[in-house]
């Protein structure tokens, strides 16, 4: 295992080039679609749906009033912004205030998202070199993250970039056995999105895989070996800290620590295994051929299975849990959750790199065409279908 992974100039140029060109492309496409190339016009057209919720969230934080502003939908159905986790809006609010409010809230969010995304790319590159020792894969990963499908979510005021950054850093520090740093990133991740808390299971999978290197698993040896690693124990215990701190805030403000769960009622009518069965049956029988969300659901399962076959169990854990938790209520947002999952993009890169050169180019071209059509769909207001 490499002791130190440094980012060379060539890599920095590649990351910045991909980042700048992809953002310029999104900007121009938005401007072209609406015949409005002004910065404010493009920003307003891009920041839809959840971005509007985050804006209300940021305004409440700035005013130190938990209930002052609400999204317009909040009035009838019981939708409320406490369904969204607070770290990202808090950071946007801080950035917005310390820059003297010279940028709009949306632009502040987009700048923060972009910074997080760039950090995520650096750590993604380091992680791939650490685990795969393949620079080509690392560059392809950066390229697909910048230009690939659903790249829009890493640009606008959504939590995707911050979650991606913290997840990538957590994976990197886990592999480097820097458990306290991993714990800090994990704690911040569980304050960014609820599924962040499940990183605990990624750590367990990694430890079990390490323990099983000789083909045998001994529970007593597993416990005695790992309980001695004090930094590991504390690192694991730190991961849920973000979630539980948010729960404490909800207890104080609403008297309900699970308010972020209960508020889901306003968005989704039902959830459970029966709903998952109905969704799969609907995709494969009633609504055959399946729509884009259903195709991505099955595609994600295949990618998770491919990682399991490759022995990358720890990389398969979080997408599996996220996919399950999301799909027991609805397939909506699954593409966004999966693409922001880091290891799913890695699985795609692993699969592409196992192909011949011509097939690789063909698959990457398909991805780019798909990415453009997704972006157009977003701009035409099909956000909930993506």
């Amino acid at each position: 295992m490499n002791d130190e992974i440094r980012i060379d100039k060539k890599t920095v140029v590649w990351i910045l080039l991909c980042f700048m060109l992809s953002r310029l492309f999104i900007y121009l496409l938005t401007g072209f679609t609406y015949k409005d190339y002004t910065i404010d016009g493009v920003i307003d057209k891009l920041n839809l749906y959840d971005a509007e919720w985050y804006k209300a969230y940021v305004l409440n934080i700035i005013n130190f009033d938990f209930f002052k502003y609400a999204h317009i939908n909040a009035t009838a159905l019981g939708m409320a912004y406490w369904a969204f986790f607070p770290l990202y809006p808090i950071c946007v609010a801080i950035f917005y205030v310390i820059t003297g409010k010279i940028f709009s809230i949306y632009l502040s969010g987009m700048i923060l998202s972009s910074v997080c995304f760039l950090v995520a790319m650096i750590y993604g590159y380091k992680y791939i070199l650490l685990t795969r020792n393949d620079r080509y894969k690392a560059y392809l990963y950066i390229f697909l993250m910048c230009f690939g499908p659903y790249n829009i979510y890493f640009f606008i005021m959504y939590t995707e970039s911050m979650f991606l950054m913290l997840l990538t850093m957590s994976f990197f520090y886990l592999k480097r056995k820097q458990y306290l740093r991993m714990g800090i990133c994990g704690a911040l991740m569980s304050a960014t999105r609820n599924v962040g808390v499940f990183f605990v299971f990624v750590i367990l999978a990694e430890l079990i895989a390490e323990n099983c290197k000789d083909g045998k698993f001994s529970l007593s040896a597993f416990i005695t070996q790992n309980i001695k690693k004090t930094k590991l124990v504390l690192g694991i215990c730190m991961v849920p800290l973000g979630l539980f701190t948010y729960m404490l805030v909800l207890i104080n403000k609403l008297g309900d620590g699970l308010a972020f769960v209960h508020v889901q009622k306003a968005w989704k009518s039902q959830s459970g295994l029966s709903v998952l069965y109905s969704n799969i049956k609907y995709a494969l029988w009633d609504n055959f051929p399946p729509d884009i969300l259903q195709v991505i659901f099955f595609f994600s399962i295949l990618l998770i299975l491919s990682q399991i076959i490759r022995g990358k169990y720890e990389e398969a854990v979080l997408p599996s849990i996220t996919l399950f938790v999301s799909s027991i209520s609805s397939f909506v947002s699954i593409p966004r959750y999966m693409m922001g999952m880091f290891t799913i993009e890695l699985a795609i890169v692993d699969q592409i790199c196992s192909l011949g050169k011509k097939k690789r180019i063909f698959v990457v071209a398909i991805f780019l065409i798909f990415a453009i059509s997704i972006l157009r769909g977003w701009l035409f207001g099909n956000g909930f279908l993506l």
Binding site: M247, L248, L254, G255, D256
Partner: protein, 64 residues
């Protein structure tokens, strides 16, 4: 002597880390228990989100 000092320092360090881990676990247990106590929740909130006895609810202006 240096080795003994090093071992002592390591032991104290480990005790602090274990202590912090225990404090965190206790914090989680307390928050979890308090999460299922709805005594301070407003009646409208409880009726809509938790009991399901109300069909409409507006979170605007909510708060204990």
């Amino acid at each position: 002597m240096i080795l003994k000092h090093y071992k002592m320092k390591k032991l104290i360090n480990n005790i602090i880390l274990y202590f912090l881990a225990i404090v965190l676990v206790l914090f989680y247990v307390i928050v979890l228990i308090k999460s299922f106590d709805y005594s301070s929740t407003s009646s409208e909130y409880k009726a809509y989100y938790i009991d399901g006895t109300s069909a409409h609810y507006s979170p605007v202006g909510e708060g204990k």
